[in-house]
């Protein structure tokens, strides 16, 4: 099993396609960093427009911590597409290439193969996120410096002390890993049903985009379905950056406003992963390989 995981991981990282995702993330991040470095002030002025009529805001607002947050907001919508590129190709890609039949005549069970393939896609997902964290967080910290994190939410603002931010990013990235693994699991499930690469990739992307749009639209009729969409829960990483206040409206360092919400979302995502992977294995075990 371990060598099977090794082999599957090896296969992923020997494919040129794998590096498209890394290149895409790199170029997107560099682009945003460049944009914010050059013109971050106008972006800030725009965001602060409302606030600055009554408040005077001083300090290095556009620091590495905020830059990373801005990027995560943007990128965590796009990264699923990059994950689908690999995860939704795990089975169908081999079926398409014709290697699946040879692979399945080797002395290990289909369940073992499926688990190894899923673990390998998860490793890819995690490495992609680590790369993302490195560029979006550490490189931004290096370019923009660190300071308190001034976060503008839609109905209130949060000011986190500099020494109260980093651990939140660890939490956020761990949560993001869970969210992205859910995407990988979905792509993985869909890849069982096809014998070409494009179908499952497009299907996974479509599901993500469709659900995200439903999650985003603020139309009452959709609001009832929102809690049941996993895309709604994928953005709960943001909750790490909301802080509790005491009765005197003082923010409590090291606190999280809504920890139960994070845990609930995490549990829902975890259930999705288990169900997707289990379904993928169940279907694949019964499948006649005709490719």
């Amino acid at each position: 099993m371990f060598s099977l995981i090794q082999i599957e991981t090896y296969k992923i990282f020997r494919r040129p396609r794998t590096y498209i995702a890394f290149a895409a993330i790199t170029s997107l991040i560099v682009l945003i960093q460049f944009g914010l470095k050059v013109d971050g002030k106008s972006y800030l002025d725009f965001m602060l427009n409302d606030l600055s009529t009554t408040l005077q805001i001083e300090g290095n607002i556009m620091n590495g911590y905020l830059v990373c947050y801005v990027m995560l907001q943007l990128l965590l919508v796009h990264v699923p597409l990059l994950i689908a590129l690999i995860a939704a190709d795990m089975i169908s890609g081999e079926a398409n290439m014709g290697t699946l039949r040879l692979l399945l005549t080797k002395p290990f069970s289909r369940t073992q193969l499926m688990l190894s393939k899923f673990i390998a896609s998860t490793i890819y997902t995690l490495l992609l996120l680590i790369w993302l964290a490195f560029l979006a967080l550490f490189v931004s910290m290096w370019i923009f410096g660190t300071d308190d994190m001034f976060l503008m939410k839609s109905s209130y603002v949060v000011l986190l002390k500099e020494n109260d931010v980093f651990w939140r990013y660890i939490g956020a990235f761990v949560f993001a890993a869970l969210a992205m693994t859910t995407v990988a699991a979905l792509g993985f499930l869909l890849s069982v049903f096809a014998e070409n690469s494009i179908g499952p990739i497009v299907a996974t992307m479509s599901v993500i985009i469709f659900f995200t749009i439903l999650s985003t639209l603020n139309i009452p009729i959709f609001n009832t379905v929102k809690p049941y969409l996993f895309t709604t829960h994928m953005i709960s990483w943001k909750e790490f950056f909301d802080i509790q206040v005491n009765d005197a409206n003082e923010a409590i360092n090291g606190s999280i406003q809504n920890l139960p919400k994070i845990l609930q979302s995490a549990a829902i995502l975890l259930i999705h992963i288990v169900v997707f992977v289990w379904a993928a294995i169940w279907v694949f075990r019964k499948k006649d390989i005709l490719s």
Partner: protein, 314 residues
């Protein structure tokens, strides 16, 4: 002498795809040391049967045993001793020949040394292309790499599904020689499927012919046909006269039933010139005297003269 073991035993195997009976109650046995020909036209059910032997397709009914073990219960043990090329020899195009071979060896549960991998590649003539990505390979090279992969873990049974598909005449001859080498020099049992009758005829010790999912015949090649005996078709200006002449002369024993107005004789290849000389001497003007492959003719008989056999002979 060690008693011959049954390597593959298939009993009453059936598989249906929707309404199509792809394999219909087929039974056969492959013995140790056999080069077992699996013969049938495209769509006859050869690939489905082979895929069931390799657990790629779940049978609807029937038993499969390999090496005396039930395939359903001892899948891993059995598959460790089987090497296969299934239809097109597809491997990872983005990897080199060397890496592909190493990867599949590890999947088969062995860790070959670099030396062993290079030897294996040399055996199929790919030693100098070891480091090249497979996407640059020709069909024939891929086929040879596929065979190297099937052999890398030194299996006792080798299953080759349509191994000559898409190969040029030289490639076909190479595969034929390889099968003979594996059988004679390395004591492998080989199951080879094909719709190319000449290939089977020249290598198979035993064979099965299936059509529309059903077994038509199974047996030792020697029993089914004598490679030394050739079926000769004869066409003359006056076939009626020729028929009478032959039936009453020394060649009467070789005469076969007439078909399509043509005369058939079964005789040794060496006798063909003598037959020609006899006919000329008897004053019969010969238009054509054509030796035909024996198995093709046999095939013609059992599958009631399918068009594809004709097209192949051309």
């Amino acid at each position: 002498m060690v008693p011959m073991q049954d390597i593959i035993t298939v009993n009453n195997l059936s598989k249906k795809f929707r309404n199509l009976k792809a394999v219909d109650n087929i039974s056969f046995t492959v013995r140790e040391g056999d080069v077992y020909g699996f013969l049938g036209q495209n769509g006859a059910g050869k690939s489905t049967t082979i895929r069931m032997l390799l657990t790629l397709i779940e049978p609807d009914a029937g038993d499969i045993s390999l090496f005396g073990l039930s395939l359903a219960r001892h899948r891993h043990e059995i598959l460790r001793q089987v090497g296969a090329v299934i239809e097109k020899p597809d491997v990872y195009k983005y990897l080199s020949a060397y890496d592909n071979l190493k990867l599949f060896a590890r999947l088969s549960g062995i860790k070959p040394t670099e030396q062993q991998i290079r030897e294996q590649l040399a055996m199929v003539g790919l030693a100098d292309r070891a480091a090249d990505k497979v996407k640059t390979f020709s069909q024939g090279m891929k086929q040879r790499l596929g065979i190297a992969i099937a052999l890398v873990h030194d299996p006792a049974l080798i299953i080759l599904d349509e191994p000559t598909n898409g190969l040029d005449p030289q490639g076909i001859a190479d595969i034929r020689n390889l099968i003979l080498h594996l059988s004679r020099d390395r004591n492998k049992t080989v199951l080879v499927s094909s719709h190319l009758l000449t290939e089977i005829e020249q290598v198979a010790t035993r064979l099965i012919i299936i059509d529309k999912g059903k077994k038509l015949v199974e047996g030792a090649a020697a029993d089914l046909f004598d490679p030394a005996q050739t079926l000769v078709s004869l066409d003359t200006l006056n076939n009626q006269q020729a028929m009478e002449q032959l039936a009453n002369g020394p060649w009467a024993g070789a005469l076969q039933p007439q078909r399509d107005g043509q005369i058939y004789l079964k005789l040794h290849r060496n006798q063909v010139p003598q037959l020609h000389a006899y006919l000329v001497q008897a004053g019969i003007p010969v238009l054509a005297l054509q030796p035909r492959h024996s198995l093709e003719d046999y095939f013609l008989q059992v599958t009631s003269g399918k068009q594809y056999v004709q097209s192949y002979t051309n």
